[in-house]
Amino acid sequence: MVRGLLWILAAILLGGIVHLSTVLAMPRAAKQDAYSRLASLTPVNTMVPLAQPQTGAEIMPFMDPAFATAVCRYDLTGGSLKLTAPVSQAYTSVFYTRRSVAYYAINDRAAGRRTIELDLMTAAQHAQVPEDEEVTAADRLIIESPTTMGLIVLRALAPEPGLMSMARRTLAAATCGIQAAQ
């Protein structure tokens, strides 16, 4: 009787370990996460407009259909990335890691000027930026990406469906690209 209880206790403990390890392993094992879904649709280090979500043809679940969306799928292996986006009304950009964790967001209000311009780099690349350069370029915005690969998602609100084409046009002017090593 006692022995049976011990077996059950062991099973519960082991089950807990199985549960926690599968939860922790899931982000690595997932084949259909946002980055993988976009990998086949978007070239790397290029700003690409995404098709509007339509019934039965959504790229990702829970996309907000009121927004025009463009994605820069980045890979910083070859150097840091420059993002340039002319600011329009009701405009936002969110930065995601390779595993879909949002680590940074900037919108037109926070940018406070007509164009969002920023350099995205890994911590190692940031460490190599000469210090004096960082000081002289005081208004140069540098963002550190926690992962070498990831996603920048730009979105512009269409306040009503009729304004969607205008929202899509404002995103078309945004660019991203790898900067040559200095």
Binding site: I8, I17, G56, V94, S100, P159
Partner: protein
């Protein structure tokens, strides 16, 4: 013999408990730090680097990109205020006000996060386009058949959900009570 039987039994039970618990938590979208106001629940931390392992696993599995914390906050509802599940064959009324935000959107999805086909190609409203009464309040009729005013079609599907996204808002991790952020009331009107 008894030892062999015991360990096999233990391993089987352990696998069942472990995988079952993982499946349950990930399909139910369980995460820590929920902020519930009326029928609406948000997980502000899921849009930041502080995201917990459960939410991380859930978004990896579904393939969605969570609303970024600096960007806004997303509230999810699956039932009305009294707990009636959203059935696309019934009529629900959403009314009231929203917490202060620069703008918001409300969108109707299937429980898997897909849009629902309908004749007028409407999947939600933005704060800019919604019709309001004189004191700024609004009423949305979520119904299978056409209504006057703000009609959000359900397409007659068995189960739907609503996502209310507030952009550029102070509502977030520090919000504790509904007093700081009054979310719209949801009421089932009939089936």
């Amino acid at each position: 013999m008894r030892l062999l039987f015991g360990s096999c039994f233990t391993l089987l039970i352990a696998a069942a408990i472990g995988l079952g618990a993982t499946w349950l938590t990930l399909t139910r979208g369980i995460a820590f730090g929920a902020l519930t106001i009326g029928a609406w629940t948000a997980w502000p931390k899921s849009g930041s680097a502080d995201i917990d392992p459960y939410a991380r696993a859930t978004i990896a599995r579904t393939g969605e990109l969570p609303t970024g914390m600096g960007d806004g906050i997303a509230f999810y509802a699956h039932t009305d205020d009294r707990g009636h599940a959203f059935d696309g064959r019934c009529t629900f009324s959403i009314s009231g006000m929203t917490p202060p935000a620069r703008y918001w959107t409300v969108t109707l999805y299937t429980p898997e996060g897909r849009l629902v086909a309908n004749a007028i190609d409407r999947h939600g409203f933005t704060s800019e386009e919604i019709a309001r009464d004189n004191d700024g309040r609004f009423t949305i009729a979520v119904a299978p058949l056409a209504r006057s005013g703000n009609w959000l079609p359900t397409g007659g599907i068995e189960q739907f959900m609503l996502v209310w996204r507030l952009y550029d808002t102070a509502i977030g991790v520090a919000t504790r009570t509904a007093k700081e952020g009054p979310m719209p009331a949801i009421e089932r009107k009939g089936c």
